[in-house]
Structures are given as C-alpha cells and as structure tokens.
C-alpha cells in the first residue's frame, strides 16, 4: 500500500481569542498545529502500512513554516514528506489548491490511496479532497469513519461513510481518495525515535517549477476562480441571557418553559 496523506497547517483555534473591541481574531503568538482531521488521516495511513506494508508520503502546501507540520508527521511515522511552497501558490482557493496538490501527488509516483481529513478547521470547506480526486480522476469516498476491509490483491476497499441519515457502506476499486472524520481512530503521539528521525529528515520543498506540467495560469490567486471580497465578524447574538431564578427548581422550570413557549418554536 503506497499511501499519500495531504495535511494542512492551521492555527490552533483552541487558543484563538477574539478582540472584544474589534471583534477580530487575535492570532498573535497562536501556535500552529496539524489540522486535527488530518491527524486522523495520517494515523489511518500508518495503520494500513503496518498491516499491509508499503510507504506513507505526506504532502503539505503552505508557507515555509508548514515544514514543521511535515516534521511532526514524520515523527508520527510517515516515511517521506514534501512541502509545496512558492509565492506563485499564494492566494489559492480550493480549486487551485487541489490542482497544485494533484500535480504534487503525480510527482511522488505511483500510489494506491490518498487520505485527507474531511475538512480543515480554519477554512472549513471540505472541498480540497474531492478536488484532488477530481483532478486525478480517481474515486472519492468522503466522510469515512471506518475502513471495513481492504483487499490489496483484489484492488478493492469497503468503507463506512457517516451521512446525515446513518452509515453508508460502499465498496470501491483502488486507487481511491478517502476523506476521514474524527471517529475513525485515535492518533498516536510521536515516539522519541520518531522525533529524532524527523529532526534529521530531508524535506524537499517543491516550487511551481518543480511541478512543471502544472499550468502556471491555474496556480495561486490567478488560477483561483473565487475571490474573497469582504471579511467581517459575524453579527453578535443580541443582548444578554435572561437568567431565570425562582424559589424552587420546579418554579424555574415553569418560567423557562413559559418563555420558550412564548417564542413559538414548539
């Protein structure tokens, strides 16, 4: 099983605070982490490698400091890592990002599977995984929370997907691209040996020139069909909570039920 994992470095939003005056995010000093969903993707790939052999390669597109995320992935056990970093990639929307990643995937050589997190916690789009699958013309299986069976010889995989109404069990032919949800596994911590190995590892940086068959007009801001016109804070919720107090629990519950009834949502 040759598996490629696409990861994104994101700000650790558990540490993001909102500036009460301007309503904007205060990102100063906020540490960057691997997108949590991507850690599930990485863990799943490592488990498949342990079971079926092969290698795990990790790709990330981002600024030069995204190399830290790749080093962490190597410390967890990935075999190889590649950083896509070039000013020409700046301003990429999901289409251009998927296009760029797909060209990088091709450059890494033959693969059986690509695994991505279902979405990144900063952009929240969930579109890059399907975009990469579309660019490469392979089957996509999104929102996977369990791999039921993998048959490398037969070239088939059976997964469970988490949908609104329940779990869908799908069989597909390899190669496939999976996007995974949180419940699929519990990611491991990097081992000491892994950290040492990762610190010494050579992580190549690929620029637009390195993925040369890619059409330069389809990269970065120029290659992106969408454009952000404004960014603002969401409207705050009006007013403060009405705190309900009463002599007894039953009396308080009665008042609350009355309030809810008066809002005509039941």
């Amino acid at each position: 099983m040759n598996i490629i994992v696409c990861i994104k470095q994101v700000p650790n939003t558990t540490e993001v605070k909102i500036n009460p005056e301007t309503g904007t995010l205060m990102r100063e000093g906020v540490p960057s982490i691997i997108n949590p969903f991507d850690t599930y993707a990485l863990e799943e790939s490592l488990r498949l490698r342990e079971k079926f052999g092969g290698a795990v390669a990790v790709i990330s597109m981002g600024p030069p400091q995204a190399v830290e995320a790749l080093r962490e992935a190597l410390a967890m056990g990935a075999d190889r890592a590649y950083l896509l970093s070039d000013r020409k990639f700046s301003g990429s929307d999901t289409w251009a990002t998927a296009y760029t990643l797909a060209h990088a995937v091709r450059k890494t050589g033959p693969f059986d599977m690509i695994i991505c997190g279902k979405q990144a916690i900063d952009g929240d789009t969930g579109q890059v995984g399907p975009g990469v699958a579309g660019q490469l013309g392979i089957t996509q299986l999104t929102y996977v929370f369990k791999i039921r069976r993998l048959d490398p010889e037969g070239g088939t995989i059976i997964v469970e997907r988490l949908l609104e109404e329940g779990r869908e069990i799908v069989e597909a032919k390899i190669p496939v691209l999976l996007t995974v949800v949180k419940d699929i596994n519990q990611p491991r911590f990097p081992s000491l040996a892994g950290i040492r190995r990762a610190a010494r590892a050579d992580i190549p940086t690929w620029t637009a020139a390195d993925i040369a068959p890619a059409d330069p007009s389809r990269l970065g801001l120029d290659g992106s069909p969408t454009r952000v016109v404004t960014i603002c804070s969401p409207p705050p919720r009006a007013g403060k909570a009405e705190m309900i107090q009463a002599d007894s629990v039953d009396a308080a519950a009665a008042v609350l039920a009355g309030r809810i009834f008066s809002r005509k949502v039941l």
Partner: protein, 400 residues
Amino acid sequence: MPLLKIDKDECAGCGACIDACPFGAIVMVGDKVEVSEQCTGCGACVDICPMAALSLPERAQETSEDLASYQGVWVWIEQFRGEARGISWEMMGQGRRLADARRTSLTACVLGRNARQIADEAVTFGADRVFLADHPELAEYRTAPYAGILSGLVRRYRPEIFILGASSRGRDLAGSVATELYTGLTADCTGLDIDPDSGLLRQTRPAFGGNIMATIICPNRRPQMCTVRHRVFETPAPDPDRRGQIIEINPALGKEPIASRVVDFIMEEGEVNLADARIIVSGGRGVGGPEGFEPIRRLAEVLGGAVGASRSAVDAGWIPYAHQVGQTGRTVRPDLYIACGISGAIQHLAGMITARIIVAINKNPEAPIFGVADYGIVGDLFEIVPALTEQFKKRLGGKR
C-alpha cells in the same frame, strides 16, 4: 513572498490593518507594518487602511469565455430512498428568489430511480424546468455518475448559478462537479444575494469555526457554484397548481462499470439527524457519564427533538460521535438548542451559535455558554432537566 504590497512611505503605523487581518499576517515592526507569509491575499485589510498604503495585484480578466451566455439558476434535488431531502426545497426557495432577481428561470436537477414524482414536486416548489435523469444505476447517490451527468448538463445548457445543499452528499458532489468544470465553489454558505451593480452572486460563509464571515464572488468563471447549509433558508410553500417543464434525459450509463457500489446502509436509530432537527437537546461534560444522557434523551423525546453532545462527552465515550455538535462534529441550526452541562468552548459554539433560541443549563454561573444564550438557569441539570421535561409534557399535552 506574500501577495500584499505595503507602501512604506504611506504607512502611518496606525495598526488598523493588524486588527482587520483574519490570519494574523500583519505585524508592527518599528512604526510601520510588515506582512508575513501567513498572508493569503484575502484583501480584508486593503480598504481598512486610511492611507491607502495596502494593495494586492490585479487579476488577469477572463476574456475567452462569454460569461453572458450563461443564464438561469439551477438547484440539485437530493434524494434518499426515493424521497427528496428537505434541504433541497430550502434551496429551491432561495433559487427562486435569485432567479427572480436575475429575471431568469429556475431549473431543478433530479437524479434517481423512479424519481418522476420528485420532479413533479420540484415544479410545485418553484421550478420552471426540471431535468430528470431516471435510471436504475442512479438509485443511490454515487459521486462519479452523478457528477458526470450534472457536468454534462452544465456544459450543454450553461447555467449562471448552481446551488446545492451543504449535506454530506451535496458537498461531495459539488466539489467534484466544480473541479471538473474549473469553476468557483463556495462551501457552506449562510447568505446569498445578487450584487446590484455587477449582477454577481455574493456568497457569504463562516470560516474559522464561525469567528469570521467571508463574502466570496466568482467573477470570471461559470456557473457560480455554492453549497448552502441546512435550515438557513425557509422551505417555501409548495403550489400544486404551478406548471413547469419536465425534460427527461437519458444518461449514458451501464456501458462501463461504475467504480463504486453501495453495499448497505445502516440507518441511525432514534434522534441523531442533527442537521434537519428543529430542536436539539445537548449534553456535555456535566452529564457525568453515559447514563447521564437519559434525562437529556427524555427531554428531547418530549420535544420531538434530536440529541446532541459536546466534544468532551463524545471523547469520554459516553455517546457516539454522530451526536457531536461543534467544530469537529456537526454544525447545526435548530430553532431551539438546549445546552445541558456544556460550558461553551469556542469549538462548541462554532457548531450551534446560529440556533434561533439558545437555552443554557449549567452549574457554573461563569460558563461561557451563558454569554451566547437567550435564557439561562444556573443549577444542577439532573434536577432542572427532568423538571423542564415535566413542564413541557404538561403544556404539550396531547399535541405530541
């Protein structure tokens, strides 16, 4: 090298751009600002600068495509087991408004098996025209055949706007179709309107777990595609007397085997369908264990609602992940959200802050959940929730 250009001679060092930047990419160095590699070229800072010292490179204009030849608003009608999903009718209501604003027609795309009655329904919900692809291979949603058929229809009939519900299937499908067509796709919108000057679709969506709202356009490619969250737009009232054209298309399926196959479907029992729920009762760390969800379930049952949970309750193994509300779970938008024993971490708030009415029940009067709630009670959820359940039982009487 970041995209943003700063004219150092003009910069007054006021720092307005630092506050405006959603990515923390601008920092003060001495008495001037500098931009780091974190810059994504989003442009949030450009108009904020009182000295007009900030600029982004102009984009090349698309000239090869005749954008004006793309007309009409399209909606994909999602079906599951032969029935249309409610989110699709919400899309039809908004699609109708956009089509009227653009003085154009509304088209529904129905793919399925024996789906004629869904096509008829789409007309009652506002479609002027329905494309109906009825084929045994389309009984269950699968990405490849669905995306292939829709991409083919778009290439032939050239819609200006294409809207899909942001369900799991909708997001799966939209990503595939937009990739194939090389057009812009905006995920998970919570607002759509037409810019009166340019006629472009303005697509507003939350990012950073709901901490910022971004408005996005697709100026040079067509169709302008987006997915829209559940329960943002009202379901329109169907009009049984409405007339529309239903065009059957014969998809070229069955020649080549489709690379995936749905082998089974396990319906979630009970009250998990959070996306569609009008009422959600959620439990957090305060419920203390799996059995602590019992009073929560009973309240949900009396209200006819779904059961949600915070991440800590899910991570503790008290309730399955399918119930998780928040950044790494589901984003919900019910009319009523009752948070029981949930402190209100920013990641949880991201998933439920747009609920119409939020009720918080928590022991800790300082819990952040009270900051976003409409009504709050400080106290023990194991006393309050059963008391509340009794009150609702009394008031709802025979109605439920």
